[in-house]
Amino acid sequence: MIVVLALAVGGLYAAGAFLLLQRSLTRIILGIALLGHGANLLLLLAGGASGRAPIVDGSDQAVSDPLPQALALTAIVITFGLTAFLLALAYRSWLLRHDDEVEDDVEDRRIARLGRGKS
């Protein structure tokens, strides 16, 4: 494992996690996207050392592991589709409430107040 790349993955995860912990939905989506980048890069790195593109052309040079590439490609596309959906959800939320923040659950808050009120 190349340390620089592992560090890059770690950086992406850290930044993504930080954004995910926010209340603004836009930031949360950005966080998920960053985490997605980190995960895809990690997947690729899992294949081991870098090499020539895995295209069979008769040469003997070592090629990079194609399996993680295929897996990462699948993951990228899936993340893309779901990010698009999440953006649509954010947009819908904006249309309904004109707010970008993720609210707390109403019923949960009611019970939390009950719990505090009686104690």
Partner: protein, 495 residues
């Protein structure tokens, strides 16, 4: 057999495509869904009988085999889950067609619902870790759409929580897959089972724990459960019902599958047992604190997951058999309870206990349909939940795990308490005719197409109790095959 194994995935998927092509022609879409799901049920049932008779089967997709392509594995555990889940999908589909509340979004509902069915089947069948991720995504993406169907404000809000938490779990799943591949060089489960023991124990354990967290989020175990009670209740009833019955169980299935195949422990796992106990307790306490039928039931999902993890955590045949039986029982019973909750909501326009009263007087048939699964959920005899609970108690005491069994019995009492909260709050009391705004003028208060599948499921749960002997035998065989990871490997890689 090559055709039969992928069929429970292929049929609903193809039907989803057709249903899309028939976009907006509701009758045609309904027909496609009903025909396909009936066929899927038949295929799953056939698989089940064949596997019981001849042993497990596998299918090499594309004809490639384990180290090149993706393998589907129909072992007993998988086909039991498949058979139960496809039956649930069909029953809830009928309910959804009968339910007036799903009318507006029918055009979208049908294709997406079928995709959900395909994703669930694929999750059970796949023998490949990355493909399991894909199957999860298929199932989850469909669940995101179903959960926000109609786009009401509260759905959008709770949908956010649900989608964000699920996406985080998916990213962690990819992370886990990547780390597993980095350490072993394969994503095929059978090959992983062979290679895992070669890893240093701490790497193996850490991978196991990471996967436990990943699936634990989907299964809603402690401390990863909170998204569930916030999000499930806001979806339309058929959607909540099928989520309640199936989605968390797919998570439990994945936990059991990976823990047994890749990270099997020699004796009871204190970690899993503690998680089980905490999950049971927080779930049932949450349920006691709630005031809404669907929210109470949602917290009970969490609580009941604890029982399933309890059986796994013992790592014995008896424990696993009890878990498997519990899962089957719970899928049926929990789905039914949500369907009944939906009937009450449909008739009265609310699920809030403080606004409900006298449902049993106005809708006696519905009351009976609630009572049976509610008592079963609390583990009271002679219903299926009792057999499941008894199995766990015997298995746990056989391993001298007295504390956790004590907790499970206590939780059982608390479950009963919170079921009586619904019964006493909504079903008993004086019936105010004006409150039953939408009630159909019959003894069930609901359209026949909502009542019929609910009644069939109640009958099914009674049948599970009655035929518990042979069914428990099946659960035991499934548990034995799970304990013997080598059998799985031989099936996939050949002798």
């Amino acid at each position: 057999m090559n055709v039969l194994v992928p069929l429970p995935v292929v049929l609903p998927l193809l039907a989803a495509a057709l249903s899309l092509a028939a976009y907006g022609r509701t009758t045609l879409q309904r027909a496609i869904g009903l025909v396909t799901m009936t066929a899927t049920c038949a295929a799953s049932a056939t698989l089940l009988t064949l596997v019981i008779r001849d042993g497990p089967m596998s299918a090499d997709l594309g004809g490639w085999g384990p180290s090149i392509g993706i393998v589907l594995v129909a072992d007993l555990f998988a086909v039991v889950m498949l058979a139960v889940s496809s039956a649930m999908v069909l029953a809830v589909l009928v309910y959804a067609i009968g339910s007036p509340a799903t009318g507006d979004s029918a055009a979208l509902f049908h294709p997406v619902y079928l995709v959900l069915a395909a994703g669930v089947s694929a999750s059970f069948l796949t023998g490949d870790l990355f493909n399991l991720f894909v199957a999860f995504e298929v199932m989850l993406s469909a669940s995101y759409v179903l959960m926000t169907l109609g786009g009401r404000a509260e759905q959008v809000r709770s949908g956010m929580t649900y989608v964000v938490v699920s996406l985080l779990a998916s990213t962690l799943f990819i992370t886990a897959v990547a780390l597993v591949y980095a350490a072993t060089g394969t994503v095929n489960l059978a090959e992983l089972a062979v290679r895992m023991p070669d890893l240093p124990p701490f790497v193996r354990d850490s991978l196991g724990l990471l996967l436990l967290v990943v699936f634990g989020i989907k299964a809603a175990i402690f401390p990863l459960f909170f998204w569930l009670p916030d999000s499930y209740p806001t979806a339309p009833t058929p959607v909540t019902a099928i989520f309640a019955g199936l989605l968390t169980k797919v998570g439990v299935y994945a936990i059991i599958r990976t823990q047994m195949l890749l990270f099997q422990s020699d004796g009871p796992s204190p970690l899993l047992l503690s998680i089980a106990g905490a999950t049971m307790l927080v779930g049932v306490l949450g349920a006691i604190a709630q005031d809404d039928i669907k929210r109470i039931l949602s917290f009970h999902i969490v609580s009941q997951i604890g029982y399933m993890i309890l059986g796994l955590g013992l790592f014995t045949v008896a424990g696993l058999a009890a878990s498997i039986f519990y899962i089957v029982h719970h899928i049926i019973v929990k789905t039914t309870l949500f369907l009944v909750g939906g009937i009450v909501e449909q008739a009265t326009g609310t699920g809030a206990l403080r606004r409900l009263s006298g449902v049993a007087t106005r809708m006696p048939v519905t009351a009976v349909l609630f009572l049976v699964p509610a008592l079963s959920l609390a583990g009271l005899p002679p219903f299926s939940g009792f057999v499941a609970k008894l199995g766990l108690v015997e298995a746990g005491l056989a391993e001298h795990r007295h504390v956790i069994i004590g907790v499970s019995l206590l939780v059982s009492l608390l479950t009963l308490f919170s079921m009586t909260k619904i019964w006493g709050g909504a079903f008993w009391g004086t019936a105010d005719e004006a409150a039953f705004v939408n009630a159909a003028p019959n003894r069930s208060g609901a359209p026949a197409l909502m009542i019929a599948p609910t009644a069939v499921l109640v009958a099914a749960s009674l049948a599970v109790a009655l035929a518990a002997g042979p069914l428990y035998g099946v659960a035991e065989s499934a548990a034995e095959s799970l304990i013997d990871a080598g059998a799985y490997v031989r099936l996939v890689t050949g002798p």
